[in-house]
Subunit: 91 residues, 10 copies
């Protein structure tokens, strides 16, 4: 499983609409509206780097109202939870 | 459930040690080492704002090797997963 | 009581109008026009995190003339004043 | 009444100690530990600009563990609360 | 006397016009066009904090061509000149 | 007369000492301790560019406790005051 | 061989189009869409500084959809690969 | 093949030493010393995300003299060259 | 002779046109298109501070296509060349 | 001729010493101490890119007191002066 975290800024008044659009994309596991300098944090869990490229460059690029995106690839996960099983792709 | 996402920078050569120390703290659900300007992203899931305050100010403050922390409170979660059940506190 | 502090920038010439609009929102305790890099500082005091999410994402998002918002959740209050009583919600 | 808001960063592991030291200073009304890029937000309410200068330059300058301070003078307060009476100086 | 220093950026080609408009405002003592990251520096000398609030929020906000303003309140003046007498208000 | 404005940051707890040291330098007309991102603002009024170079590079460089300096050359002054006469050099 | 690396930001939804346009320019060896603060990284390998100037200032300047470019000249290459031979110009 | 580009700053006087240490690491294809805000750019070409994690977090973390690293994952490569064949892993 | 160096950003696709317009201004000695965060560097050599003010505020302000300018006054020149003679004003 | 402009910050109190050390290096044509965010601007004029690499990475790296360097390669020169002849290398 390839995991990435995206920090996202949206145009004024579009936080909920963009969050819902992102959460409906295949591969986007969770979206949080957050306090601070960013508006949204999206957690992406996909099978391959190609899926990640397609999701970030193509799918996210088509969501209206996004002002900026900063994506971070997760190198390793440290957790007491079995994240692979919990977010089993295709499940 | 109160969720927060922390963007963390660590001192050189301490990424794995800090990630493991953070992941062992009660309330820290997942820690990811990531590409980009930050070294680690920690997902915090606790029961109350007081637990969050205790975790961020007291527990994380005692982990050796952290150079900087930027914590974001999650206002709302947008997900097709039942995050409350998956990360059931006390489970 | 959940407290948050918002640092706000507004469009040119709209400081007073935005400050008054914000101060009239339920949950916004005080708004200050300030010197320095930000235009306004708003102190938010609400009952729950859900109220905070609704206020910041929905209500503030509808105020005309806001150019940017940086919201900080207060983890703990240190004060010789009994803030809970002074700003009793519903009072 | 002269009001100012100070955004403060502290050295690692000193959030509580600095917050308590600041809250005990005459003229500091409230101190909040906060999420985000700053560690503490202090609300200062004093009688004159000279009191503010003395507090910010002299008293705060002597608190151990402060890494940086950004002080904003409040030009005007917008509130449904009678802040002058609630935080009556000398009360 | 309350003194403040404002660092100002203006729209392209409007340095002289904005400088003259600012210098004609009551309470603005001097305006300098400067080298570096800012376009203008204005020195404000007024009688009270209320005058400062009125000048910065209301009067300056109405000057056409200002792109950004960063105002700093002077806590104390250190000078061999008798600035109070030299810039006597009302004189 | 050549005028320059310097924005200065000082080491913790040294605001007053550095301000007094700067104000005693020949050519430094006024020093203000200020709110915001900078600690001090110094107004320099000297006869020639060479005096300015000597003051900024040599004299200010020897003052203990300065952490950073950003100097702006004033191209033109806009004022209802006769600044040349008020700050007559040699007077 | 003169080598340069360009960090590029593009307008929303134009990552693929700009990447393809850049990759088709003579002298552009490789273009990568990337995670993080930049959208694209282009590796430029040309024969002379004049070719580099022509490519960066003239050719890249005509590609639609570029929002910003930060070009870095490579002083020296450290590699176990024979880059000169692999990317032989004219080959 | 997984490709990543790392922007690296090194301590004063250590550009050549760090560049040679990085270039000798398995998985680091090329290192360039560059003009501008960064000192070095390293191109990483490895077989899997795990190799990338190991290289960036473990191996690079042990190189003496690195002051900061900003790693970008390449989502897609656009090139007229057959990069997979040219930099064939294991070759 | 008064020397100043200006770091200039221009609108997309206008590097050459702005560079030529600037180089034709009296007092602008050299203009370079450059790699990195800025587009152009202009070296200004004039007789007096007044000439510098006129050039920077008035003449440069009228050149179409400039997005931003950061001007630095040269305090002193260190060179084995006799710059005064080489760039003799009026020559 | 290859031209580069370097923006340089130096440690406190070392502006003159670093400027003289830089000006004595072969290939450094002029060094200016400047107002603003940088301390020094150096103009480099050498015969080849290899000379530039040697100067910037090796020679400048050995000058004591430099805190940071940002080097920009000049792509093209626009000037009414015959810079090649004036700064003839070897002359």
């Amino acid at each position: 499983m390839v995991t990435a975290i995206a920090l996202i800024n949206v145009e004024r008044g579009k936080v909920n609409a963009v969050a819902e659009a992102l959460a409906s994309l295949e591969g986007v596991s969770e979206v949080y509206s957050v306090s601070g300098s960013y508006d949204l944090v999206a957690i992406v869990r996909v099978a391959t780097n190609d899926d990640l490229a397609r999701l970030v460059t193509d799918d996210v690029g088509e969501v209206e109202g996004i002002a900026g995106t900063h994506t971070m690839l997760a190198f390793r996960a440290f957790s007491r939870h079995d994240l692979e099983r919990m977010f089993a792709l295709g499940a």
